[in-house]
């Protein structure tokens, strides 16, 4: 089944798929805007950061480093390590973006976030979905992020800290995105291994390398489990 290329249906599908992400981004973006404004960034600079970086957790970390008086180079290096996980996400997305030219790929790359990645991967697998709809999803989420962070920068001081469970919006979003990725016991196993490894590495080592390390290791174990599983079921068939 192929998805329609009609502009209206592309926009509608992309925006419909993006709106739950926007619901999650709104409180997180507001919270970020408040912190960034307290750290001394103007609403213009907040908007510029959301536009050019577009990576929630890295932006939070950068702002807390700015408040702590860190120099630019350590902030940029930290941003790099926090966002290195996108390397793995873009690699996984590449499988679904064959035959796309370099210009569209470059535009697509801009919108790769944890949320858009997880959402688009689910759609690519489960329904007629294409790069056009995925791009609309990316940029709808992007707009929601930019606007909510700027609004936070202007008026966020009126929201008391910790109100309405804002701090939990991101974890809740990740939990649901994780659930959407589970397609069988092998995926449960990989999730459990990744979670345990990530906790162990996060406790043992400072910094954020634990995300990429645990992800790569757990996916590798997954490949071996699948191989071993496949062999087991084959030998059962021959019996």
């Amino acid at each position: 089944m192929r998805a329609s290329h009609n502009l209206w249906s592309v926009m509608k599908d992309g925006i419909t798929a993006a709106w739950p992400i926007c619901v999650g981004y709104a409180p997180i973006g507001l919270a970020f805007g408040v912190l960034a404004q307290k750290a001394g960034l103007s609403p213009g600079e907040i908007g510029l950061m959301s536009l050019l970086v577009f990576a929630g957790s890295a932006q939070f970390i950068a702002v807390s480093m700015i408040s702590g008086g860190a120099a630019p180079i350590p902030i940029i290096l930290t941003t790099f390590t926090v966002n290195l996980r996108h390397l793995l996400m873009s690699s996984a997305l590449a499988v679904h973006l064959q035959r796309l030219n370099a210009g569209w790929l470059s535009l697509y790359a801009y919108g790769v976030t944890d949320e858009s990645f997880a959402m688009n991967m689910t759609r690519f697998r489960e329904e007629p979905w294409d790069w056009r709809r995925a791009l609309v999803l990316n940029h709808t989420a992007n707009l929601a992020w930019i606007f909510s962070t700027i609004i936070g920068g202007y008026g966020g001081q009126f929201i008391p800290a910790g109100a309405f469970g804002i701090d939990y919006a991101l974890p809740a979003m990740f939990i649901c995105l994780l659930v959407l990725q589970i397609r069988g016991s092998l995926y449960v196993a990989v999730a459990v291994i990744a979670g345990l490894l990530a906790v162990a590495c996060a406790l043992l080592f400072p910094g954020n390398a634990y995300i990429v390390a645990a992800t790569a290791a757990a996916a590798t174990v997954g490949v071996f489990l699948r191989k071993w599983n496949g062999k087991a079921s084959k030998s059962e068939e021959t019996l």
């Binding site: 739950p20 970086v53 577009f54 590449a94 809740a172 906790v199 406790l203 995300i211």
Partner: protein, 107 residues
Amino acid sequence: MKGDYVLLILGMGIVTYLPRWAPLILLSRRQLPEWLRQWLDFIPVAVLSALIVPAVVTTGEPRQLAVFQPALLVSIPVFIFAWKTRSLAGTVIIGMALFWIAGKCFH
């Protein structure tokens, strides 16, 4: 460092964009070997778990294990809700509400 903010943001933007861009350009035009496709197939579930689990069972800097914290307690019903409904917006709203209530109970 007022004037430097723009340069800082630019630097952050470049180091964030490159890892998003390079794999798309390098990998989308070639036929990937089967083992790599399988490996990439596990990336979503692995990376989300590696992001969420440490966030709800550790606290502080340097990080310490903290199992009895509202974030983890709330995560259990939130996980069940997500599993049953598969609704992202619903999960975010329920999660925030529960976390807010849990915060009030803990203090």
